[in-house]
Amino acid sequence: MNLTDQTWLWAIPALPLAGSALCGILHYLTIKARMPKRAHGAHGHDDHGHDAHGHGHAAHADHAASDHGAGDHAHGGDHGHGHAKVEPGLSAFAPWIAVLAMAGAFALAIKGFLGLQGETHALESPAWDWIDTGTFRIDLAIVLDRLSSVMTLVITGVGTLIHIYAAGYMKGDKHYAKFFAYLNLFVFAMLMLVLSSNLLGLFVGWEGVGLCSYFLIGFWYEKGWPAEAGQKAFVMNRIGDASFLIGSFLLVKLFGTLDLSDIVAGVSGLLGDPEKKYELLLAGLFLFGGACGKSAQLPLFTWLPDAMAGPTPVSALIHAATMVTAGIYLTVRLNPVYAASPDLLFFIGAVGAVTALIAGSTALVQRDIKRVLAYSTVSQLGYMFLGLGTGAWAAAIFHLVTHAFFKALLFLGAGSVIHGMHEEQDMHKMGGLKKHMPATYFTFLAGAAALSGLPLLSGYFSKDEILAHTFAHGGAYRILWGIGIATAAMTAFYTWRMVALTFFGKERFDPHHVHPHESPSVMTVPLMVLAVLSVFGGLLGLPPVLGSTHALEHWLEPVTAAGNALLAEHGTHALDHGTEWMLLGLGAVIALVFMGLGIRAYVGGTARDEKVASSAPGLARFLQGAWGIDAAYTAYVVRPMQLLFFVVAIVIDQFTIDGMVNGAGAVARTCGDRVRRMTSGNIATYGLWMGAAAALIAFLFLKRIG
């Protein structure tokens, strides 16, 4: 391969960006065509829409009482907008464009992957001096190395499937094209995050995915709460982003460069200087703070369950498979920074383990199917950080990949269920769906089996690898290992509780009003592909004890070498084969036992939930509210802040400025005279204040000089 000309690498992020722009234009044209005065002119375009989606319109005119059956086109308008039928118009082309852009990016990602074989460790596009004023210079290049290649394959591969699924799921939405514009823009930002050669490009992607997440969580803002959830997610992410930015500044100060590969290469040279080593630790800590925001770890995880207000494909793509793994990517990318400090590593592992436990236990009692999956995602991300905390970079990436497969599958499956149940998300009102939705059922089973770690499925190998590494570290890591095992048990239990409540047992909905139906093939085919990946994804990283090489670990070797070299200085941790077999067996037993318990408890219906709620109401509430963390934020952070600012607004603002008087119009009108007098009084206050401030400054400095 010609190493000098890799300009084509720019096409990987550029394709989704172009797709986003085109979908945006389509959105504009559609909206324009829908405006009353233009309706006639746009009729020609609408004809196309009728041809393709004829049944859909009939269906959502009166979807409450209609009998959809299993028709392929009966899904529009289910999203609760309460609007009359919406002509798709030109926006019907949007999914085609978006999917094509994704598929193109995926094809290029494969091309890059094939180019990385053998001794080639990274492909780099020519640097683009994006800003260069002589005093101020920013270069940007696209680097596809072993790590970003894995990330890119997941983002574009799983992303393509989710885009296809979304074409069916979002059909009939009045902002169909806008959805794909945002979705493609998200993929662009995510690709910039993983492909940038330097911290600045990474930061653009880092903040960009937050922005797109905000748009997409709030996509159905007309319902009210999604807009609020979007704002919460964005602001909590921004807390992490602030931490990330400070960490990056520290890195730039230490290494004098924005370039990621230079930073990675420079770490070992710094460690001789204790002061610099301390600054490196600080930088790592701040960057980890950023990772906690984006990857929903303690204490910043509470936005992710709320983010489920977004359409389900968004939950699958952004809040399970890609964006939330950005923190993992960042940590592996900068692995020597973390490997330099065993204490920092342990801290990361502990945060991951505790987050996994809290979120896993919370998932046990949720009734909303998407919230179960959301807490499960937080919990699984916790596993990944636990893996990172042991320095098992490849294991964390392995779990990231398999999790992307099975969690995307479970979310999309849940979306299919929600869709078939006319927007019902409460599992207590489901049950017995397996005969109504066979394709969704079987694929969901595959995802659930992988998540719960049933032997030989993808999740089994990736999770057990992390736990084995944790066990091998010994010492305090054994506690983390115990937490990990307990969480594994909970994972199996809540997963199969979810399956049992949704698909097994009796139907707990009114069959006269709800007619569950299988989703169209545009939605089920992506499910099947993901199901195959979830089952066989474990082949990427079979444990050595099974007599094969860990393909992924070997693949990532060039990226993780720097960190591994530093780790080796603190001693290596290897398990003998007997222990390894024992741990694999333990994982299998736990998964099977708790799967059985979960099914047995819930196959008969919701009685167990009610029993728990009545016999231990305190515990149920505690778990329901994620150990009261969100409530604690409200009580100890949000409320006091609100009170403080209320005081600020009422007392201080009114004292110096007559804001409240101006605001209260009616009052002011009746006592207009008084207002004038108060106001002119205020001008004197201003003068006094300004004079005093100036005098104070002068006094202070005279004193300093004198």
């Binding site: 101020f136 930061f203 903040e207 704002q231 003068g687 005279l702 000089i705 004198g706």
Partner: protein, 478 residues
């Protein structure tokens, strides 16, 4: 004499337009939008001419210097002036059709003052330009004194009076300080202080600094900002919130980085305190506000804090990023106020509840507002992202670690209240559902702002380069 008159071509052109508008009104009073559009188009011509008029040079005795720094500011002020005029056309034509010309003429005089200000290197010229800029603003502030909904008090006259009295007081501070400085040093040249100034000179400098602190609305000289923004007519507030602030910052740069750079140990701590206090007070006081214009007033205080932070970096790069920051702020804030003006047009009032349902009534206005707010918050793909990032980078490089950490943390709060404004436009419970009526001129102004905010977000390089060249006029070297 005529050897240097060509340096003032653009300024003279602006004054000529002002006189033309006044004469037009005197001889052939025209209702409708003709005066406004003529003004906007002529200003556009001046803006275009700024790319062809190649007048660089120095007036004898170095009183006025026209270099890249001045060219940058002339263009920035002209752009703000054009947009300010565009945004006012529809409003003036419907509210006060009989007396439009005076509004435009006053705005143009103020504009001429700002344009001259950037090149002034002599205290007397500097103060004169500053007053030429400020006086018309006092009048304009009270211009729509009958405006507003019947149920609310008429605040414009009060706002004008407040702006005038506090403005006069701050001018007094500046002049008092200058009297001390000039008296002690014996020269009216801005750079005439030199190293190791006498204590009385330092007192004078600090009073000058306080006076300029008022003009840019930095804490603790910020109290007029929210009051004036809330009371004055919105299209004017749009202009007031950007152009005079850019002029004030330019003056601070000329005086501090240009004239007094040798004495930075005197003023730098003050500047940094002003920057930090503005960021803290602006961001925290913006949080509980329920009036959109008042909220934006405090937000403006916070934004000035960020700009002062970059100025405090005391480097060419820092100054360039101050200029970049201010330029993006000009387009963003003009855009925000124009959208608010459009949304409040029928019925008036600017409480957050008033814009509820905006993005449903007029998706494009709602979308534009969201873009502007995201830019103020510093989010990628729009101009404000680079502005904030570059400011923090330069300040960090200059060693202002504590203030950068503070600023980064406060930017989180900023995002929260900007999104709160955005969220209220999503809310469906607005009492009206029909599209917001907007005039063509106002829409054009919003569109131009939108193009700049998004365009600079995707491709900031031209502005960064221009700002860097301009900064070289004040801070030489790297």
């Amino acid at each position: 004499m005529s050897a240097w008159l060509h340096l003032f071509t653009l300024e003279l052109a602006v004054v000529a337009i002002a006189l033309l508008v006044l004469l037009w009104d005197a001889f052939a009073p025209a209702a409708g939008r003709a005066v406004g559009w003529t003004t906007a188009l002529l200003l556009g011509g001046v803006f275009a001419a700024s790319f062809f008029v190649d007048g660089r040079g120095t007036v004898p005795h170095g009183v006025f210097v026209r270099d890249e720094w001045v060219v940058f500011h002339e263009r920035l002020f002209l752009a703000a002036g054009i947009l300010g005029v565009l945004g006012s056309i529809d409003w003036l034509a419907t509210r006060t059709p009989k007396r439009q010309a005076e509004y435009y003429a006053l705005l143009l005089f103020s504009l001429a003052g700002m344009m001259l200000l950037a090149g002034a290197r002599d205290w007397i010229l500097l103060v004169t330009c500053f007053e030429l800029m400020s006086m018309p603003l006092y009048v304009l502030c009270a211009y729509g004194k009958q405006d507003g909904p019947a149920s609310e008090p008429k605040l414009a006259a009060e706002a004008g009076l407040k702006l005038f009295i506090t403005g006069a007081a701050s001018s007094g501070l500046t002049l008092f300080g200058l009297a001390l400085v000039v008296g002690m040093t014996g020269t009216t040249h801005v750079g005439g202080i030199g190293a190791n100034p006498a204590p009385l000179t330092i007192v004078g400098m600090l009073f000058v600094l306080a006076g300029f602190g008022f003009k840019v609305g930095a804490v603790p000289f910020h109290m007029w900002v929210p009051d004036t923004y809330q009371g004055a007519p919105t299209p004017f507030v749009a202009f007031l919130s950007v152009a005079p602030k850019a002029a004030g910052l330019a003056t601070l740069a000329i005086v501090l980085l240009g004239g007094w750079s040798a004495d930075s140990s005197v003023w730098l701590p003050v500047l940094l305190v002003l920057a930090g206090a503005s960021m803290v007070v602006g961001n925290l006081f913006a949080l509980p506000q329920t009036d959109a214009r008042r909220l934006l007033g405090f937000s403006g205080v916070a934004q000035i804090g960020y700009a002062l932070l970059a100025l405090g970096a005391m480097s060419r790069g820092g100054l360039a990023m101050t200029l970049f920051f201010v330029a993006t702020y000009v387009f963003t804030n003009l855009g925000v106020f124009f959208v608010l003006h459009a949304a409040a047009e029928e019925g008036g009032g600017h409480s957050l509840a008033r814009i509820a349902g905006l993005s449903r009534r007029s998706p494009w206005l709602g979308g534009a507002l969201l873009v502007f707010l995201l830019s103020l918050a510093g989010i990628p793909f729009v101009a404000g992202f680079w502005a904030k990032l570059f400011v923090f980078m330069e300040a960090w490089n200059a060693g202002l670690v504590g203030l950068v950490v503070l600023g980064v943390a406060l930017a989180v709060i900023g995002l929260y209240y900007y999104l709160t404004v955005a969220r209220s436009t999503y809310m469906a419970d607005g009492d009206r559902t029909t599209p917001v009526p907007t005039g063509f001129a106002l829409r054009a102004a919003i569109l131009v702002c939108l193009i700049f905010v998004v365009g600079l977000g995707l491709w900031p390089r031209p502005l960064v380069e221009a700002a860097d060249r301009a900064a070289a006029g004040i801070v030489s070297g790297r």
